[in-house]
């Protein structure tokens, strides 16, 4: 905190000229910190994967250079050596006004870690562009930078400008054409300040909730469902220090952006810059790989298109958007459809049909092959009669004659598909075995770097992998080499969403029908809510409280269930009281409940257990309850710190007697006495409860009346004490 404040004050004192003196810097994250491109990324970093035959990182670097960035720090983690080697051997290491520096890390698992590391290196001296190495863009940064700087002059808290672009998600699948989930943003139309960001919206919820203060503070807010986040951010130095201060920030959007938006103490602001005619998109998954490849071939990203980017290798653009390297050997009868790219040294046999595809360098394609919408990388051999649709085929793959790839297949490096073998749709095939240990959900998002490095490769590819492969040969037909990765349960449904293949029609139809049903449900839900509200004569304000209560009640009910489960486990497994207290406390924190609620919930679980244990008469029930209370009094007591909480327990008990455990109704005074004896309830609490109830309705006083004697006795005892 201290460091950051210092930084802020130092910056305020800087005058504009001083700001301008810094060369424009950029941080390029050459690691996506996701596993979406597995199995390919187990062997090669994502940024080096060819995109229309050129490694992705080249597009990003070329754009940064053209946009006036002078200094780029490439952060690499997974396969860092490959990235560094590539950059050193490429032309980027020898540009006159454009320096590329690599920063290597071996243990970063998220963008947050990366930025913390960069902060420690102390290499960023002013505003910088934050981008990941899989971004393709041709936008001009000048205006966005200027806006950012102007805002910073007026308000030091405007620390980030996010680039967004119009892109409406499909009304059926609710995902953008890049295969990313739909995004909801609220933006102030005048200041362009970002007020709300939700990219992982729950499908089940039919609504999004905007905070009331947000609306109260901004007379006009535009809620967007039609924007795409380009993942190009112009940041101030503070962003780095913020990541350091909040060491739990991992994800740029989910943690950092949302964290800033909800945090109203520091008052940091994020703004948006919308681009209209220029291109910007990030390759997030296989679908965006497909979409962006097509955009590049169709020259939306000009000047970052293959023939311009690799000027030396003489790629010619021909009619209908076909790109052909100069030394392609093409059979006369081969048909070569529109929007197709064919790289250097590739040979194509007779009667082969290729359309909407990218074929890399030095590939050998036999005759009578059909390739549609596929991405074939370098040195691939495709024998006669193969059929490929919407597949990605990595370097060195061999498809034996007659092999068929169904839509959505990913063949990783050097896989061999046997003769006549049909690879089923959406299969992912690799020489490496699927990591057996399935990461937990959260880790999955950042796990790429930890395992996906050289060791895995050397271990498995050398020697000892051979026997494995022969065993699995059957997986890919005769002569096939590789493992077909199994799709995890649950993920299966989602496979087609991010696949390189277009979404099949039957899925669309199903989704549409589902959607209709959902809508019906939602409309009904809406009616239920309003109907309950409409019964009230004055619906001013009451309705809202009700809704809120409902929400919190739902929470409470599930909390109560959890506590009950914990308690039962404690009973059955003889867990120590201290541990049980800890567990309940953990639950309390995770549900954000007060300790009052805990007391009530524990007491509820205890009494429920008493009722559920076998008993024949009221006295047995009483004994059950007494036993349980005696055993667990310490647990209960540790959540009853003051009288109010004790009263809460009594009220809870009353409620139970009326509703869930009517058997206790008769025993009410006895149990009350029991709790008093065990010193769980103090007499003050009981008396205060009695006083409170005094004013209640007759119907509410049933239990008060029943325990009148006991209370009378308490009062007298007190008086005696006083005397």
């Amino acid at each position: 905190m201290g460091a950051q404040k210092k930084g802020a004050t130092a910056r305020v004192s800087e005058d504009p000229e001083e700001l301008a003196r810094h060369p424009l810097q950029a941080i390029l994250l050459a690691d996506s910190f996701t596993t979406k491109f597995r199995p390919i990324t187990l062997e090669r970093p994502k940024v080096l994967l060819p995109l229309v035959n050129i490694p992705m990182i080249n597009y990003t670097l070329a754009w940064l250079e053209s946009a006036g960035v002078e200094e780029v720090f490439v952060f690499c983690c997974a396969h860092s050596k490959q990235v560094i080697d590539y950059l050193e051997s490429s032309e980027w290491s020898s540009q006159p006004n454009f320096s590329v520096t690599t920063i290597e890390s071996h243990n970063s698992i998220s963008a947050g870690d990366a930025l913390r590391l960069i902060y420690e290196r102390n290499v960023i001296h002013g505003d910088f562009v934050l981008i990941s190495g899989d971004t393709v863009s041709n936008m001009s940064l000048t205006q966005a930078l200027q806006e950012h700087k102007d805002r910073r002059k007026k308000d030091a808290n405007a620390i980030m400008t996010m680039v967004v672009k119009q892109s409406k998600p499909s009304p059926i699948t609710q995902q953008s054409r890049l295969g990313t989930d739909e995004l909801f943003m609220a933006i102030n139309p005048v200041t362009k300040q970002l007020l709300y960001y939700e990219d992982k919206a729950e499908y089940s919820k039919g609504f999004i909730s905007l905070d009331k203060t947000l609306i109260a503070d901004n007379p006009s807010v535009i809620l967007h469902n039609d924007k795409q986040d380009c993942y190009i951010d112009i940041c101030s130095q503070q962003v780095l220090s913020l990541f350091t201060d909040n060491f739990d920030y991992q994800h740029l959007r989910r943690h950092f952006v949302k964290g800033l938006l909800v945090d109203d103490i520091m008052g940091y602001k994020i703004f948006t810059h919308e681009i209209h005619s220029s291109y910007a998109a990030r390759i997030d998954n296989f679908r965006s790989y497909d979409t962006i490849s097509k955009d590049i071939i169709q020259r939306w990203t000009y000047p970052f298109v293959p023939d311009v980017l690799c000027g030396s290798s003489a790629i010619k653009v021909e009619r209908q958007g076909t790109y052909r390297a100069s030394d392609v050997t093409l059979s006369r009868s081969a048909q070569f459809g529109s929007f197709t790219f064919i790289g250097q040294g590739t040979k194509i046999g007779t009667d082969t049909k290729i359309s909407h595809s990218v074929i890399g360098e030095r590939c050998t394609i036999g005759s009578n092959v059909t390739i549609e919408g596929s991405y074939i990388w370098n040195n691939v051999t495709i024998e006669d009669g193969c059929r490929l649709r919407n597949a990605i085929v990595c370097d060195g793959v061999i498809l034996k004659s007659g092999a068929v790839l169904q839509p959505g297949v990913i063949l990783s490096f050097k896989v061999v598909v046997g003769q006549q073998f049909v690879v089923p749709a959406y299969s992912k095939v690799s020489l490496l075995q699927q990591p057996t240990q399935q990461d937990s959900d959260e880790e999955l998002e950042y796990a790429d770097s930890t395992s996906g490095t050289g060791e895995l490769r050397s271990d498995k590819l050398n020697g000892d992998i051979a026997p494995d492969l022969s065993e699995t040969a059957s997986e890919l037909g005769t002569g096939g080499v590789g493992y077909i990765w199994t799709v995890f349960e649950g993920a299966y449904d989602e496979e087609w969403r991010h696949s390189v293949a277009p979404i099949p029609t039957d899925k669309l139809v199903k989704l549409m029908l589902d959607k209709d049903e959902d809508e019906e449900l939602l409309t009904q839900d809406g009616n239920v809510i309003s109907a309950s509200r409409e019964l009230k004569t004055d619906s001013d304000g009451n309705g809202s409280e009700d809704d809120d209560n409902e929400d919190s009640r739902d929470d409470y009910v599930s909390f109560e269930k959890e506590v009950e489960a914990t308690f039962l486990r404690a009973v059955h497994e003889n867990v120590k009281v201290d541990l049980a207290v800890l567990e309940v406390n953990a639950l309390r924190l995770s549900y954000n409940m007060a300790s009052v609620d805990c007391g009530g919930a524990i007491f509820y679980s205890m009494m429920k257990l008493a009722v559920e244990s076998p008993h024949n008469s009221a006295s047995e029930l009483h004994r059950n309850a007494a036993d349980i209370v005696t055993t667990w009094q310490k647990l209960l007591k540790s959540f009853l710190h003051d009288i109010d909480e004790e009263i809460e327990v009594i009220l809870k008990f009353e409620e139970m007697c009326l509703e869930s455990a009517k058997e206790f109704a008769a025993l009410f005074p006895q149990i009350l006495h029991l709790l008093y004896d065990k010193e769980i309830l103090q007499e003050d609490a009981i008396l205060r409860w009695a006083d409170e109830k005094e004013g209640a309705d007759e119907s509410d006083k049933v239990f008060l009346k029943r325990s009148e004697k006991f209370i009378q006795w308490l009062r007298e005892a007190e008086e005696e004490e006083d005397e």
């Binding site: 919206a201 919820k205 905007l210 809620l223 029609t505 029908l513 409409e534």
Partner: protein
């Protein structure tokens, strides 16, 4: 125009006690010496909307209102008076008179609206879009005393927390979301957002309680949803919520109306459907969609909820609180004096004593008399009032037949008819109910004085 107008005039509003009473129901509450209902009726007459049903709560009030209307608007408007029981809500009131509704479209307007926005403009918007419902929105009025300035007023509006959250489409023609309470977080339907792509959330607009409904839709909703009590809280949100998927109940609307819906190509709902269809690139998908058991794609039921946004310079306030009553009285004599319709008769100048000054933005009713050395500032004084000497009346409303003794000081107060203020009474921010007698020398601050109901 085939429009029927329903004026929901109300009756004894609890918010306005002690200003209203059995003898003086809310519609007849004087604003600048002229019943508040007059302002609405005058605007309707100007827009040539002359077929009216005035709905009054309570039989007695209905008689009083009826008598006044027939006296004032005879031969100018065709007015029916309908009495409905109290506390049945605005939707309940409409339900009660539903069988009187015959025109194709119904304009519903609150009788306490003081506005210079022509109702005809709303009606025209409604017709243009062939909407199921069109509602009028206006800027939130600056509330509170004038001195506090505009920024202060804004804060006040925030504190009151009674403004609406309104979601509009980019063209600002369609109503996509409406919520009355700001107290909870706004919940915006994703479905509608998906369809339009972007929605502008406004919190600086207010629902002015003037709506145009398609009669068939209104009657269906009232019929089927018999728990709906309020137009604003129930019926309107319901229609907005279900606009992309009209429920079965709207299927019975004549086919002709539905068809005309589809002709408006600019309409977002239709665009939504076409977008869905455009997305389905393969012809087979078209086929499957139209073979839906739900029927073909073109019969997906939608209806339109439109808005008419009054320009920010127009005046539009509802008289629904004492504060609003004060504000309206101040504005009508001050900034918004163009609202005073010609039939607001200003009587012959009252008799003034020597050295008595009457400031600007004041109004004195006929036959009122004032003693010497009185001061009247920014106030309205009704007919036949007798005001003694050395009386100071500032920022106040004094109704008819009020007697004010010497040396009284009245600030920011409302004095109802037939009140007697004895000598040297000091009132600040008080409301004095009809017929009340304030004894000599008493001082009150921010109190409500009224006779006990017998």
């Amino acid at each position: 125009m085939d429009f029927q107008v329903v004026v929901l005039a109300g009756g004894n509003s609890k918010n306005l006690t002690p200003l209203v009473s059995k003898e003086l129901p809310k519609p007849l509450l004087p604003v600048a010496n002229c019943p508040v209902l007059n302002y609405v009726l005058h605007q309707l007459e100007q827009s040539n909307l002359k077929d009216l049903i005035v709905v009054v709560e309570g039989e007695d009030a209905a008689l009083l209102v009826g008598a006044w209307i027939s006296g004032t608007f005879i031969d100018r408007l065709h007015v029916e008076i309908a009495a409905v029981p109290e506390d049945i809500g605005t939707a309940g009131a409409l339900r009660a008179i539903s069988h009187h509704l015959t025109a194709k479209d119904i304009l519903v307007v609150s009788g306490d609206l003081v506005s210079d926005v022509p109702p005809g403009a709303l009606a025209a918007t409604h017709r243009r879009h062939d909407a199921a419902v069109t509602t009028m929105l206006c800027s939130i009025p600056v509330s509170g005393p004038l001195e506090s300035g505009s920024s202060g007023g804004k804060d006040k509006a925030k504190k009151l927390g009674r403004y609406n959250i309104i979601g509009l489409d980019p063209s600002k023609q369609f109503l996509l979301h409406i919520a009355t309470e700001i107290e909870k977080d706004a919940r915006i339907s994703k479905r509608i957002l998906h369809a339009v792509g972007q929605m502008e959330m406004r919190s600086d607009l207010m629902d002015a309680h003037m709506y145009a409904f398609k009669r068939s839709v209104l009657q269906e909703v009232l019929d089927v949803k018999d728990t709906f009590q309020s137009l604003k809280e129930d019926v309107l949100p319901y229609l907005v919520r279900s606009q992309l998927k009209s429920e079965a109940l709207l299927n019975r609307t004549p086919q002709g109306e539905e068809n005309s819906n589809e002709k408006v190509s600019s309409q977002n709902n239709q665009a939504f459907i076409s977008r869905i269809l455009a997305n389905a690139s393969t012809p087979s998908f078209h086929g499957i969609y139209s073979e839906n058991p739900d029927g073909s794609s073109s019969t997906r039921k939608t209806h339109k909820c439109c808005v008419y946004i009054a320009s920010s310079s127009s005046y539009c306030v509802r008289l629904n609180s004492i504060q609003a009553f004060m504000d309206i009285n101040r504005d009508v004599t001050g900034d918004a004096d163009h609202l005073l319709s010609p039939n607001n008769i200003i009587g012959p100048s009252p008799k003034l004593g020597t050295k008595t000054t009457v400031g600007p933005n004041c109004r004195l009713g006929e036959g009122s008399e004032m003693g010497d050395k009185c001061q009247v500032k920014r106030s309205i004084i009704g007919r036949h009032c007798r005001i003694g000497s050395h009386v100071k009346v500032v920022n106040s409303v004094v109704m008819n037949h009020v007697t004010i003794g010497d040396g009284c000081i009245i600030q920011g107060s409302v004095i109802c008819s037939n009140v007697q203020l004895q000598e040297r009474v000091e009132l600040k921010d008080c409301q004095v109910g009809a017929g009340f007698v304030v004894t000599a020398g008493s001082e009150y601050k921010a109190e409500s004085l009224a006779k006990k109901e017998k």
